[in-house]
Amino acid sequence: MKKTIYIFSSGELKRKGNTLYFETEENKKYIPVEDVGEIMIFGEVDFNKKFLEFISVKEIILHYFNYNGYYMGSFYPREHLNSGYMILKQAEHYTDEQKRIELARRFVTGAGKNIRQVLKYYNNRDCDLEDGLSKIEELCSSIPTMQDISPLMALEGNMREQYYKCFDNICKNPDFVFEERSRRPPRNYMNTLISFGNVLMYTIVLSEIYKTHLDPRIGYLHATNFRRFTLNLDVAEIFKPIIIDRLIFSLIRKKMITKKDFDKNTEGILLKDKGKQTFIQQLDEKLKTTIKHRDIGREVSYRRLIRLELYKLAKHLMGEKEYEPFVANW
């Protein structure tokens, strides 16, 4: 499985000796190009067109984030999997209200079931979450009756609200109380972690979409518009609870991230570089861990799981097999 490279330091990235080369004032390093799937840039990095050409040929995506860790954009190499057929199918499922709501419902169902799974796990350990669980079960059961996108979105919002209310019980750390969801900028430590994690999740799913015939511009739950990629947002809904939220809980419960890792300024609260690095290191480990997949009967990594989800979606769009969202069972 190809690796992700994260760059925090400032320096120059270039093509050298037919591979990638990163040079900073203190450090020089060759990065094996055949082993790189994507590059995420947080620092100040210089590069030239020759470099972009090279990673374009090697089909490596470059994601860049600003000083505050917000997603700014991607260098998305020329589409190398060009399937007009798939775009037509995707559009067809978007414009047909019935088909669109059907898919959107499945995304919400998947998200809901995974949320329930996460809560169940902590409920069985030492947190009292019965209340939140029953509310989420109730909301989940009314998904099939939704006939329109906007009430479905509202339901999804309610579900998250109930879910977030459980966070304090899980973390049991007064430094990381949830209060309410605030973003752009997040106004407390917990919200900062959630925002940072979600941003990473969206870009990871985007990178995986790039390796399939799907077009990230057409999403189903999130409305397709002129501004942004949306399919990755839909798919990320399913994986956010089981990857990002679980990671946040273990980071806080194991005290790997404490309030010292944050910076307060007028623009809300931000993670310091060291905090970001710990987060990313743990996320990278998590994405590499493998689980036994029931349907295909072998070990797959979390990252692979995301790609499999996209393949299932592609099959649904082509009318081969109905899409069933991935639900964790542990």
Partner: protein, 87 residues
Amino acid sequence: MFIILVYDVGVKRVNKVLKKCRTYLHWVQNSVLEGDISEANYVKLKAELSKIINTKEDSVVIYKFRSPKYNSREVLGVKKGGEENIL
């Protein structure tokens, strides 16, 4: 698959071999590289290397592991290179 590659080649070809290996593997120290590699890339790397080296004089040894899970790695002295994905 995880591999460790060591080479001992004539001075003229050292640079060529090193350059080729660096596109697939992480440099560890002089003449030693290691890293995760896919089956396909492994075959490619071997084919490309055999074009560069002189089979009568040079030698390249590759140690293959199904996973690096069951071995440990210790470094005495300076750590010169190795795998890093957070820079």
